[in-house]
């Protein structure tokens, strides 16, 4: 039986952000923007959605008078990602 894929993760940019963040301890907004090739506005919206879902932690701070946004995956986000990949595999195993 197929389980529904997590709608929070099942969009290209949000999935890209989470996939990037599971591989590192933490990353700055500009780094994620560069790696995902997203626009700042779109990335900002998707980061907020992931934060609201509790999948990532977002820390806004100032460094040398410049604003900086640091993103980090949460245990909940990691769990959601694992479930997403598991469900994805069940789809792939049946050739979908």
């Amino acid at each position: 039986m197929f389980k529904e894929l997590d709608p929070i993760l099942h969009t290209p940019l949000r999935l890209a952000i989470v996939s990037l963040l599971i591989s590192v301890k933490e990353a700055e907004f500009t780094f994620i923007k560069e790696k995902t090739n997203a626009t700042a506005g779109n990335l900002s919206v998707q980061v907020s959605k992931l934060k609201e879902a509790g999948y990532i932690d977002v820390v806004k701070q100032f460094r040398d008078n410049y604003p900086q946004t640091i993103c980090k995956i949460t245990p909940e986000g990691l769990r959601a990602f694992e479930i997403y990949v598991k469900n994805l595999q069940s789809y792939l195993n049946t050739g979908n």
Binding site: A16, S19, L20, V24, K25, A27, K35, T36, L92, N96
Partner: protein, 194 residues
């Protein structure tokens, strides 16, 4: 987005993160050159210039420590991403510094003025450990080779006079930190270009 698309996206993002080298070789070069200059300086001072106090050249390491602290603080501010590899390697090099200080202290306490007979063979052995682990973690063969050279020199040091030990330290620095340091710098710069 199909399942295959999702999987391809996940794979591509993980690879992008995985290929992120934050190691630019700067501290390998700093310490490689400092220890090389100090060991060779002391050796030449003692053997050729016959200056007994030539060990004062090691004061240079304190200047290097101050520079390293400033560099690390500045670098931390500039860093846009922290990988688990960065965290692990940081811990390994901190442990290495502590082991170096403690072994020097213990040798001094237990062997008195004869501490010098064991100091460099033990230091050569210790140099190899973080260098080898870094080589494995960074998947960087020159570091693993450098570590092997340190360990071979540590064994060799037991067969040659104590007065020549400093030369082995200088050779170890070239093999373990200076050459890999330049190669790491090259790899880091290539990453910035690509």
């Amino acid at each position: 987005m199909s399942s295959a698309d999702s999987l391809a996206l996940i794979e591509s993002m993980i690879n992008k993160a995985k290929n992120q080298f934050s190691e630019n070789g700067h501290l390998y070069l700093l310490w490689g050159w400092v220890v090389f200059i100090c060991s060779l300086g002391q050796y030449l001072g003692m053997r050729i210039l016959k200056i007994q106090e030539s060990y004062y050249v090691w004061i240079l390491t304190w200047v290097a420590v101050i520079y390293m602290i400033i560099y690390l603080v500045k670098n931390k501010k500039k860093r846009r991403v922290v990988t688990y590899t960065d965290e692990l390697l940081g811990a390994i090099w901190i442990a290495f510094s502590i082991v170096m200080c403690l072994s020097g202290f213990i040798l001094g306490q237990t062997m008195g003025t004869r501490f010098y007979e064991l100091l460099n063979p033990i230091y050569l052995t210790i140099y190899g450990m973080p260098t080898f682990i870094s080589g494995v973690v960074l998947k960087f063969r020159p570091l693993k080779t450098g570590a092997a050279v340190c360990w071979v020199l540590a064994v060799l040091s037991t067969f040659i006079p104590v007065t020549e030990h400093l030369l082995l330290i200088a050779i170890a620095m070239v093999a373990a930190w200076i050459i890999p340091g330049y190669l790491l710098k090259q790899r880091y710069n290539n990453q910035a270009v690509n």
